[in-house]
């Protein structure tokens, strides 16, 4: 006989991991893009400022 489990801890864990993982991926990708574009603009600015 299988034990009857409360499903809610599992449902909440799924939402925390899924939403957290997606937001982390989006946030880190956004930061990487902003940093890389700022670096490129900085290099361009240094060149044109010479």
């Amino acid at each position: 006989m299988r034990e009857v489990m409360d499903p809610w801890p599992f449902v909440i864990a799924v939402y925390v991991i899924g939403v957290g993982g997606t937001l982390l991926l989006t946030g880190l990708s956004w930061l990487a893009m902003r940093r890389a574009e700022a670096r490129r603009d900085h290099v361009r600015g240094r060149e044109s400022g010479r």
Binding site: R2, E3, M5, P7, W8, F10, V11, A13, V14, Y15, I17, G18, V19, G21, T22, L25, T26, S29, W30, A32, M33, R35, A36, E37, R39, R40, H42, V43, R44, E47
Partner: protein, 251 residues
């Protein structure tokens, strides 16, 4: 597509499309998840555990779609030498791996109350785990090719592209695993043009899938822009270093 081979043209297009896709995706996916968690009904047999569907299924679709994107970009890179194709494939790898990992973890969390176990070595679960390892392999190969100094368009870049194409053989195996083998995982409830699912579950699921797909599109564009910007900065610094060394060389 060749119109976007020019990075400047691609960037003009990507600058407005990136926030549009990401924000629309966040709103749609967030709305669908609230709908699924709080307002969608419980299912007769599965009870409240069915609420995991709205995260687990879009994550599984995007894990597979990510690799199909890598395979398509790799084919474009190998056949037409499209300069942005290698960048698109590299930018898709981490989001695809993330959604595959989310699918595996949420599936395990669903399996415990539904099947009484966290994991079984059946066709669907094992082929999905193989997909995650393929992503890790692709990410490592792409990083090694980039360290070679030729970026996403050099000769060494062909190795991850070939790997991306060969790895696509796993996608039909994942899809048909539940039909070919006797698995713990259920057979597909949705196929092209028909669904065995009631609209109470189907509509929020499709909205969640659309939202997560748009969000993944936005994330891939963000990562493409980051790779391009880093490559442009490196190219300028290299040119500058070369012109400085030419100037100091004795005549």
């Amino acid at each position: 597509m060749h119109g976007f081979a020019n990075p400047a043209r691609f960037l003009r297009f990507a600058r407005w499309l990136t926030p549009l896709l990401a924000l629309t995706g966040l709103v749609l996916a967030g709305g669908a998840l609230v709908w699924g968690l709080l307002y969608a009904p419980a299912e007769g047999k599965q009870g409240e555990t069915v609420r995991m569907l709205y995260l687990h299924v879009p994550a599984a679709w995007l894990g597979m779609a990510g690799w199909m994107g890598i395979a398509a970009a790799s084919l474009t890179e190998l056949v037409w030498r499209h300069p942005l194709a290698g960048i698109a494939a590299r930018a898709t790898a981490v989001p695809g791996a993330t959604f595959t990992a989310i699918c595996l973890v949420t599936g395990s969390l669903w399996g415990r109350p539904a099947w009484g176990t966290w994991w079984v070595w059946d066709g669907r679960l094992t082929s999905m785990l193989v997909l995650l390892f393929l992503y890790f392999g692709y990410i490592a190969l792409a990083a090694a090719a980039d360290e070679d100094g030729q970026g996403a368009s050099g000769g060494a870049a062909r190795i991850p592209a070939i790997f991306g194409l060969v790895g696509a053989v796993n996608i039909p195996i994942i899809h048909y695993s539940v039909l070919w083998w006797n698995t713990q995982h259920q057979t597909p409830s949705i196929s092209m043009g028909k669904s065995a699912m009631a609209s109470d579950f189907l509509v929020p699921l499709l909205v969640a899938a659309l939202g997560f797909s748009l969000l993944m599109g936005g994330v891939v564009l963000m990562r493409m822009r980051a790779i391009l910007a880093n490559a442009q900065a490196e190219a300028r610094l290299r040119r500058k270093a070369m012109s400085a060394s030419d100037a100091t060389e004795p005549a």
